[in-house]
Symmetry: C2
Subunit: 461 residues, 2 copies
């Protein structure tokens, strides 16, 4: 142990290896509601790729497990330390290395946060559009989980925006993939393989992302409907209309009420509409000119009328921004309301009403309250599960996940597998796929030191 720490200190510097009480509580967990904090054997803060490489060489030689952590905003437990392992954190690797306006590309260290990157891009009229709820999330972490978020309906997810990576393999070898180009047909796409691998294949040390013109005009539209099926029926029509919304969210009346209350937001919806509306659609349109935006709003308004909307509220800019911000904070509102778990699953978009109806039946059968909202354009449903009894809760969430897979979906749309969803992932994955994934894991990390006890390395339920 003391020899290990000595080697680590030599690799990254005395003050960048911390043990015991010197490990701040923030590093002992992510945001997952169901995980307990764990103090790692050592918190290691590398300052460069070569320091990451040195640390991994040491870990590999000694067979010490390594967990990589972004900003700790994950929701699957993937960044939670193990007591006998190193926790790699990237507080010292937070430099934006390059913003290349001509090529519309940014190159960043893994610790760079979304708000930091977009803060630097905004004055240049550019945006990195992937937007998981939490803007303090890091790009390295986003690569790990293939982060999605509300804007995916227009922009796709992390894997659609990362063009290249530098990553360090378990044995310290530095790997480079991709580059400043969108098109590439040159060998197997290791960039894509690493994205979403949750730190189990390699440690990301540099990310090259595509950036794009920042839309100048934006508007938020709130649309009450009498029932959820009407909302989900409307969604493919909106997508097919070509108005190309940036955000297309569903919130039930309960969720909308709780986020607006929590944000102190009065959207000015008349009482009679509020009483008739059981489900809301939140639509954001973004364009590069006022005339385009106006045209989009008009077309959308006409369409929504035809689709049975009770009314259409084009929110004043401030209220619109506040509503989206409040929606982003729904996780914390649900947490504050006493949720015991917050999960996501993905299903084909059109299956949402059926899925949610069956989830409601499951919830009732398990005598558990489940709240819902979702990135309805993507078929990505988020559920708050209120059931303090762990066994009862797990029995229900298992059925919720199995149902998603059964309906043609997957265990996670954007939170990832980590430790918390691993049993359901292992239970439902295609056996041939699982075997290939295990072989890939072995090829990248023969000693199995990266991301132990998560994803493929987890115990089955």
């Amino acid at each position: 142990m003391s020899e290990l720490l000595e080697q680590l200190r030599k690799a990254v510097g005395e003050t960048n290896v911390r043990v015991g009480d010197a490990v701040h509580a923030d590093y002992t967990h992510d945001e997952t509601l169901t995980v307990s904090p764990v103090v790692p054997l050592a918190l290691v803060l590398p300052g460069s790729t070569s320091e990451v490489s040195e640390v991994l060489k040491v870990a590999s030689e000694r067979g010490v497990p390594v967990v990589a952590r972004g900003s700790g905003t994950g929701l699957s437990g993937a960044a939670v330390p193990v007591p006998d392992g190193i926790l790699l954190a990237f507080d010292r690797m937070r430099h934006i290395l390059e913003i290349d306006v001509e090529n519309q590309v940014a190159v960043v260290e893994p610790g760079v946060t979304l708000e930091q990157l977009n803060g630097a891009l905004a004055p240049l009229g550019l945006i990195y559009p992937v937007s998981p709820g939490e803007q303090t999330a890091s790009l390295g972490g986003n690569v790990g989980t293939n982060a999605g978020g509300m804007r995916a309906v227009r922009y796709g997810v992390t894997r659609h925006h990362v063009l290249g990576l530098e990553a360090v393999l378990a044995d310290g070898t530095v790997l480079r993939t991709g580059g400043k180009f969108v098109k590439c047909s040159t060998g197997y796409d290791l960039t894509q393989l690493l994205i979403g691998s949750e730190g189990t294949l390699a440690v990301t040390t540099e990310v090259t992302v595509k950036v794009q013109p920042r839309p100048t005009e934006t508007t938020t539209i709130l649309v009450p409907f009498a029932t959820l099926p009407e909302v989900t029926h409307a969604v493919p029509r909106i997508v097919a209309s070509g108005v190309n919304p940036t955000i297309l969210e569903y919130a039930d009346a309960l969720v909308l009420g709780s986020i607006t209350r929590a944000a102190g937001l009065d959207l000015g919806i008349p009482d009679d509409i509020q009483q008739a509306a059981l489900a809301y659609l939140i639509v954001v349109l973004e364009e590069s000119s006022v005339s385009r935006l106006d045209e989009g709003v008009e077309r959308l308004g006409t369409l929504l009328g035809e689709l049975g909307a009770l009314d259409v509220y084009v929110l004043p800019p401030h209220a619109g921004a506040s509503l989206i911000e409040a929606r982003e904070r729904l996780f914390f509102v649900t947490k504050a309301a006493g949720a015991d778990d917050i999960i996501d699953a993905v299903i084909p978009r059109a299956a949402i009403p059926d899925y949610l109806a069956r989830v409601a039946e499951l919830a009732e059968a398990h005598q558990t309250f489940v709240s819902g909202c979702g990135h309805v354009g993507d078929g990505n449903v988020h559920l708050g599960v209120f059931q303090p009894d762990t066994e009862k809760r797990k029995a229900l969430t298992r059925e919720i996940f199995l149902l998603a897979v059964d309906m043609g979906g997957a265990v996670s749309g954007e939170h990832g597998v980590g430790t918390e969803k691993a049993p359901y992932f292992l239970e439902t994955a295609d056996p041939a796929a699982l075997e290939l994934m295990r072989s890939i894991k072995t090829a990248f990390d023969p000693k199995g030191i990266l991301g132990p006890h998560r994803m493929l390395g987890a115990e089955t339920a």
Copy 2:
């Protein structure tokens, strides 16, 4: 041999195994100019996934190589048979299995062509927007090469549109990946790994693609510039402006002349402009309404004036469509003009003028004529190489590829590696990446029967 044929006939039916003269010449090559036709040991035409599985089981047990072929429109030799192996072709697997309008997804067999799919989608107001030059290309082949094409500047390439695959491994195991959803963070992304693997990892038997609203309004704009650097300087400005072109192509005066002549197209450009213009930009805008299109054309026109365009020609619809069609056929025009090789490389978009200038120097040093055009929005350059001496030509093309890699690019943007680019790929790839790719290949295909002598399995130069 006769025992093998008997097993194959049992697997797919008597008439679907062909040998010797019964193998039509079309099956002996792809469109690559530098490959010689090869008659396979047996041409096998499976009719279903289970037949593919049976064939691969037989091949695997006997250690017989297998090459999978789409429509044979590839430009890297990846689909050229080997004399001692099976050629799998998908003439019998050309069914569109499902067009799911609600989920905006299509599920197709690998032999379905782009024109077939878009023919079925058009009446529904939908489009599969990936458009490599050749519309007879198959979806299975597109997955193999990660096909790109002119519309990639707006829509990305094949890997941005494929949501899931069914594929058969070398030993006959059927693998399922992804599904009817865009967001997924559930294990390593095998869909992405298979895309672009050129038939060396598995044989694709079903493709699930995202489809989207078909733009209703389109216009083609031809923009003469005095010099190439002015064109490439204009490109990032156009991309940054938010007009979001579907096509952004560069053609030098020679290329434009040859494609318009070949198509018998008079674009009505005055003589003085024709004489002053050394480089042309071709821009296509597509929108869902006339007012949006008009606005885009106006903004683009103003911008192009500021960027030094000699003039801006908004082509009449018929001429615009003909120009794009003619550009699509540039490969055949260049071939007819006597090109000995037609290659593609990718570089960061902003490096294009420098790259092309250095290619011109290389061409001169090698006393070889090289013509050029490119998907300039993507940094994807296509070059016709006129040099009948194989050794001389290979020496030049090698330097052209090495230069691309040296300037931050890659050996192929969309044609793929196959047999023809493999030596340059193997020479320039990151060694750690190459080693991982070899391990992945072994995990998928331990006996190495799939796609022999191509990509990783090729000899080095």
